[in-house]
């Protein structure tokens, strides 16, 4: 882990041409545009923070961008207590789907990408093209076909129905192949073989370590992708105890005209679900950067 953040700003010469910053009109416009953009991206989140602290009356009766009788803990307590702690169950489900799914997706992608990069075998290019086609296949257009197939196999409304499709990441294979090609020297593999290491051992001890930055990227991509996915669990699951947060919150939101306090719970639930991911985004966006261009080199 520590290895990765060392590398982000590598060879760039330190602060090229550091001139004293003067307040030119150009700079004022620059800062103004960047600030307005920041406000735009933060407004819904800020509103969410304010709204989470309000009771149902002030939600409608007071100005949305300012606090009114804050009662954050009381509200959050309600969110968690409602319907036999179902929100907690949803959070755990989301973690399970995204966590397990992303770990397996990363491992499978790493192995496949490594094989495509470093072994010569018949059909290699064909397999690679076959995988690339999957990158361009729209995943939500797939959710319905998947549902049809899984219902034939009696897999719908199980944890597997969401987990299995989450493991597939053609884009992850693509990233891993490119990264493995660029970063794993053939001579290293040869040396390990000469030393008597088997292919599995080489993969587990050498390859996975060398590929860590790419794997972090694939893992994060897939984690966010699964966490944010809505269509797949929507078509697959009917038991609300198996729902991830996304699905659960929408059911609350949609039921709010029958059960008014659900509006408040939806807001509180959204607030809680945003905290860990927002924090992760802030911390991890620099890891992210490292692997992203890997995808854009195809020409």
């Amino acid at each position: 882990m520590t290895a990765v953040d060392v590398k982000t700003p590598p060879a760039t010469p330190v602060a090229p041409a550091r001139r004293p910053r003067r307040l030119t009109p150009g700079r004022i416009v620059l800062v103004a545009v960047l600030t307005i953009a920041a406000i735009y991206f933060l407004v819904p989140v800020y509103w969410l923070i304010v709204a989470t602290t309000k009771n149902n009356d002030s939600l409608y009766g007071s100005f949305g961008f300012w606090f009114d009788n804050p009662q954050l803990l009381h509200n959050l307590g309600n969110v968690f207590a409602y319907d036999r702690h179902i929100y907690l169950q949803w959070a755990l489900n989301s973690l399970l789907y995204a966590g397990v799914g992303a770990v397996l997706a990363t491992l499978f992608s790493a192995a496949a990408g490594f094989a495509l990069a470093k072994y010569q075998f018949r059909g290699r290019e064909a397999v690679f093209k076959f995988v690339l086609a999957g990158v361009l296949l729209p995943s939500t257009a797939l959710a319905l076909p998947l549902y049809l197939l899984f219902s034939k196999l009696h897999l719908t409304d199980t944890y597997w129905a969401v987990l299995i499709p989450s493991i597939v990441s053609p884009f992850g294979v693509y990233l891993c192949r490119i990264y493995a090609e660029a970063s794993i020297p053939d001579s290293l593999l040869e040396a390990a073989r000469v030393d008597g290491a088997g292919e599995e051992r080489i993969f587990a001890t050498l390859v996975l370590r060398i590929m860590t930055p790419a794997l972090v990227t694939v893992f994060l991509f897939q984690f966010v992708h699964i966490w944010n996915n809505y269509f797949l669990p929507l078509v697959m699951l009917s038991d609300d105890r198996k729902y991830p947060i996304t699905l659960g919150l929408v059911t609350w939101q949609q039921a709010a005209d029958r059960v008014p306090e659900l509006t408040q719970y939806t807001i509180g639930g959204a607030f809680v679900s945003v905290i860990p991911l927002a924090f992760a985004m802030l911390v991890l966006q620099r890891f992210w950067r490292t692997g992203l261009t890997e995808g854009s080199v195809k020409e």
Binding site: A3, V4, K7, P10, A11, T12, A17, G26, L30, V33, A37, F41, P44, V45, W47, L59, G64, F108, A111, A112, F114, Y119, Q120, L137, S139, T140, L144, P145, L146, Y147, L148, L149, I167, V168, A182, S183, D186, L189, R209, T212, P213, Y230, F231, I245, T246, L249, Q253, T266, I267, V274, A278, M281, L282, W288, R289, T290, T293, G295, S296, E299
Partner: protein, 328 residues
């Protein structure tokens, strides 16, 4: 571990602007011994198995289902339903539904406007961030990227509250200024959805562009500066052409994303009557399968949608690469 991964990480991160030629073992004949290459299938196996099961087979299964239809026997069609081969009937049914085609038109219009606006915003932000000090750039980058971590449906719930009069401080503020905006009306809701999608993905696309900008050697800018280029010229003549691959990539992903538009309209449907079940092709297929219980037509619609998305993204890719070739 630390040293090895730090070192090996360099080529991947720094050189990524151009594809590194795979060090091919041609010319050098390897002695045939343990044949490690056989193990390739072992490593490919797990991925290929799940890929086939959860992506490829469903596609063919959907195609198969799209060719079936339910036929009722008996004189008045009241007999037991029977599934028979229907040829391309479902495709004909889907393509004759005006609402389904209008959904496609709506999504195309959406994409033609939303994708360029979003990518322009991402590009401008990326270029501007390149002009400020690293610390500020880091903070701003994180701020712009934040929405990507918020699931689309939750983003839609949030913006939904900001669109609905009575609860939204935005409509309240605009009302005080004398405006009566209707974010959820029949003419505006599509652009309200576009706003949500831009909000979610502009920062993510910006980050891809930033990553490409970072991979440009600084000497290039230095040289341009010595030749007398100002920041504007450097941005237009140097940086924008250099981030072209990133723009192409983000554009392809945006096209695919646009065609799949689903969660945002579905969630807004509750508060915006203008969002009908056929609002987007994906919604249309969903409602066919789950409300109208016609999975065969739904399958046909899914296939049409996937084909259109692939044709558009492939078409765009071949268009830009052909243009690139003729430029050279």
């Amino acid at each position: 571990m630390t040293t090895s991964s730090v070192k090996s990480a360099q080529p991947g991160a720094g050189d990524s602007a151009r594809p590194t030629a795979p060090p091919k073992a041609t010319g050098r004949r390897r002695t045939r011994r343990a044949r490690p290459d056989r193990k390739a299938w072992l490593f490919l196996g797990p991925f290929l198995a799940v890929y086939l099961f959860a992506m490829i087979i469903p596609v063919f299964y959907a195609i198969y289902q799209s060719l079936l239809k339910v036929e009722r026997s008996g004189p008045l069609g009241l007999g037991a339903p029977k599934v028979v081969f229907g040829g391309l009937d479902n495709y004909a049914i889907a393509l004759q539904q005006d609402a389904f085609l209008e959904g496609f038109g709506r999504v195309l219009l959406f994409g033609i406007v939303q994708v360029p606006v979003m990518l322009l915003l991402s590009l401008v932000l990326a270029l501007l961030l390149d002009q400020i000090s690293d610390r500020w750039a880091g903070l701003m980058r994180a701020t712009y990227f934040l929405p990507y971590g918020i699931p689309g449906v939750i983003a839609t719930i949030l913006w939904g509250f900001l669109y609905v009069p009575g609860i939204s401080p935005i409509t309240e503020m605009l009302g005080d200024l004398g405006f009566q905006p209707d974010f959820l009306g029949p003419d505006t809701v599509l652009w309200s959805i576009a706003n949500i999608v831009i909000w979610e993905f502009a920062g993510y696309n910006m980050l891809i562009i930033v990553a490409q900008l970072k991979s440009v050697p600084q000497e290039l800018y230095e040289a341009a500066r010595i030749d007398g280029a100002g920041p504007w010229q450097i941005a237009l003549r140097l940086k924008i052409p250099l981030v072209r691959p990133a723009l192409i990539l983000t554009c392809v992903f945006s096209i695919i994303g646009t065609m799949q538009l689903f969660a945002e309209p579905l969630v807004l449907k509750k508060i915006a009557p203008a969002v009908i079940p056929d609002y987007t092709p994906n919604l249309s297929a969903y409602f066919d399968a789950f409300s109208n219980a016609n999975i065969y037509v739904a399958a046909a619609k899914s296939v049409i949608l996937a084909v259109v998305a692939m044709v558009l993204s492939f078409g765009f890719l071949s268009l830009v690469t052909r243009k690139q070739r003729s430029e050279r």
